[in-house]
């Protein structure tokens, strides 16, 4: 997957691809992402589901890279794929007892879900395809966009400074003359939110249990609490 990325960027940097590599890799990653997402739905085994999900998210990260959002892509790999999924697999394993690894769903439910999902998909696709057609014309110039640093402006924006037009200095964006605000406040809110959530999760996941009498005796005997 990553190997492919090398090729992509080399090609895009070259500026004049013989075939549409951007399209090719987009198709590849898109198919991977959607196909694996489908596999998540179809799989019965929880661990396999998690595995497919990891790959699907990874492929999405590839899509992000293709869209020039390298930082978000790396973040997706690190936090989403790395953090979240490890967490998930942890949970899977902690609760993975034979009867629960695969819980079957009734066919009726599946069919119903398929119908409803299809309707939703139709609505969404309708929205996606009838939107303004930005597509196409700028994608060829992707070589310019790819090498633009995404991490720095994003990082600066997170601490409240917008490189592309800043409220603090009152400088408008060079592009559209708008003055934008940074994300310091949302960033802080999210930070605190994360902290609270983690503390809450840690608390929630704990359970109380009666200590066995043997360990009480052991403790009394050795005077060592472990």
């Amino acid at each position: 997957m990553m190997q492919a990325l090398v090729a992509t960027h080399t090609l895009l940097a070259a500026g004049s691809p013989g075939i549409n590599w951007h399209g090719f890799f987009f198709l590849l990653f898109a198919l991977l992402a959607c196909g694996l997402a489908l596999a998540v739905v179809l799989a019965d085994n929880v661990v396999r589901m998690a595995f497919y999900l990891v790959l699907s998210l990874g492929a999405t990260a590839g899509l992000f890279f293709l869209a020039g959002a390298e930082f978000v892509g790396a973040m997706q790999l690190m936090i989403y794929v790395g953090g979240t999924l490890v967490l998930l697999i942890f949970g899977v394993m902690l609760t993975a007892q034979e009867p629960f690894v695969a819980i079957r769903t009734s066919t009726r439910d599946k069919v119903l879900a398929g119908v409803v999902g299809g309707a939703l998909l139709a609505v969404l696709l309708q929205a996606a395809l009838t939107g303004p057609a930005w597509s196409g014309h700028t994608a060829v110039d992707a070589s310019a966009g790819v090498s633009q640093p995404t991490a720095t402006p994003l990082g600066m924006a997170l601490v409240g400074v917008r490189v592309d037009g800043d409220v603090a200095s009152g400088q408008p964006s060079p592009v559209d003359g708008q003055v934008r605000s940074g994300y310091l406040l949302p960033f802080e809110i999210v930070s605190v939110h994360l902290l609270v959530v983690l503390v809450g999760a840690a608390y929630l996941a704990r359970t109380k249990r009666r200590k066995s009498s043997a360990s009480v005796r052991d403790e009394a005997l050795t005077g060592v609490v472990r």
Partner: protein
């Protein structure tokens, strides 16, 4: 428009996002395992993220991307972060549920049944 013949653009990403979103929803509906539902949620969020990134991408929207600026990417970042938080909490809830009910079958979680 013809998706297959046009160069890759926002619409393509939107389609992928829609597919991921729908898959996630179906996953949430179909899975009886609480963790499966959780994975469905992750897929839904991921689908939304694809849209955000697409709208904010200078590659896909060229000059017009500046209308959205970094907002698209920043929003995607926040979604990722909050998804991590959400996963932690959801997992904790699942574990708690498992502790109390000795199962992760969401169909058995009908204590609030009317």
């Amino acid at each position: 428009m013809n998706l297959l013949s046009d160069p890759v653009g926002v619409s393509h990403y939107l389609v992928v996002g829609a597919l991921l979103f729908t898959t996630g929803v179906v996953c949430m509906v179909v899975k009886r395992n609480a963790l499966g539902v959780l994975m469905g949620i992750e897929l839904v969020l991921n689908g939304a993220n694809v849209n955000f990134v697409a709208f904010g991408s200078p590659v896909l929207r060229g000059e017009q991307a500046s209308l959205l600026g970094l907002d698209g990417q920043a929003m995607a970042l926040f979604v990722i972060l909050l998804a991590a938080a959400e996963a932690a909490v959801a997992l904790a809830i699942t574990l708690n549920f498992y502790n109390n009910h000795a199962t992760v079958d969401v169909d058995r979680a009908d204590d609030l049944k009317g």
